[in-house]
């Protein structure tokens, strides 16, 4: 190892530390708007754009640049997202929790991200997200207040 190697390693360590601090200080900005345009096959009906079904937390699903309805997390259920090209993600939901049960993506990162609950989103590396990058699907967990605000903001 040469002296510049040490500098490089030191710089990376400092940068990582700063980002960790930044992650603690800056919380993700609240989402801007919901565009319920795509359809999903769902054991439970997602919110129909009317008043939000009662729940402590909601799941916002996004594919590409499009958002689905907010899904209330008030009991067990399954959401299947099938895309025209054969990509499929199966999401299991329960009261205040969600997990990517299976996906036919090559890397399975989303399945390995584990269960996301209202109580573990502050300690998870991925915070309130489960992302299937290969299928461009992201799941965002949000508490009721935020979901209500979102509905207000996106009301016509």
């Amino acid at each position: 190892m040469k002296r510049r190697d040490i500098w490089i390693i030191g710089a990376v360590a400092v940068l990582a530390g700063l980002l960790l601090l930044l992650g603690q200080v800056i919380k993700p900005a609240p989402p801007v708007k919901a565009l319920p345009t795509l359809s999903i096959t769902n054991a439970r009906e997602p919110g129909s754009g009317g008043p939000l079904e009662e729940a402590n937390s909601y799941l916002r699903i996004r594919q590409g640049q499009e958002y689905y309805h907010l899904v209330p997390l008030n009991g067990p259920g399954q959401i299947v997202i099938r895309q025209d090209n054969g990509w499929e993600n199966v999401i299991h939901i329960d009261k205040d929790s969600v997990v990517m049960h299976s996906a036919n993506c090559p890397n399975q990162d989303c399945v390995n991200m584990g269960e996301m609950t209202l109580s573990n989103i502050d300690t998870r590396v991925f915070q309130r997200w489960i992302v299937c990058l290969a299928h461009q699907i992201s799941l965002e967990l949000m508490p009721r207040e935020e979901a209500l605000r979102l509905m207000e903001d996106s009301a016509p």
Partner: protein, 183 residues
């Protein structure tokens, strides 16, 4: 014009990279969180010292495309991320090896590992709207640096396989080489 020997070596290196990538996949050496060990990066780093930048870039492209076709279902999103990671990592390592110099393979490996992860994530955030998670970026930085350090150390162990001219160019000559030169 590439010599037959270098052409054969290049093919061998691509094969080794593909095998390492495949082994990581089937042995689930991925650490979760979408983090891969990136063992094949040590082959690319060795190639940089051995063949220089243009051939190493070609080998990187071959590795990225072939592993996407063979193991990645040719998923366009994963492919574009691999390309971005490979390109920015190659750029960083080439700069360390040929422009900054005074950096050992360990430093070049650290830069390569870190830039590979950060490059991928930047493209994911900018192009595919991946959420901006600072703690995840920090984790990727640390893992990239550790794995880059390991791959760099492997290259240090392998440097005596480099042709004499290349060892001389990069100051990798051993005592045996110097004895032979002095004789």
């Amino acid at each position: 014009m590439m010599s037959t020997r270098n052409l054969a070596l290049s093919g061998l290196f691509v094969a080794i990279m593909l095998i390492l990538g495949y082994l990581e996949k089937i042995l689930s050496l991925g650490l979760g969180y979408g983090i891969k060990l990136g063992l094949s990066n040590c082959v690319l780093l060795l190639c940089l010292y051995w063949f220089g930048t243009p051939i190493s870039v070609a080998l990187m492209l071959a590795k990225v495309f072939l592993s996407s076709i063979l193991f990645g279902g040719f998923n366009p999103i994963s492919l574009s991320l691999s390309l971005a990671g490979g390109a920015i990592s190659m750029l960083g390592m080439a700069l360390m090896v040929f422009a900054v110099r005074e950096v050992s393979p360990v430093g070049a490996g650290v830069v390569g590992g870190v830039l590979h992860n950060v490059g991928q994530l930047l493209v994911a955030i900018l192009v595919y709207s991946y959420p901006l998670l600072y703690s995840y970026i920090a984790l990727l930085l640390v893992v990239g640096a550790v794995m880059g350090g390991i791959t760099g150390t492997i290259v240090v162990r392998l440097k005596h396989f480099l042709p004499y001219e290349r060892r001389k160019q990069f100051g990798f000559l051993s005592r045996k080489d110097e004895d032979r030169a002095g004789a």
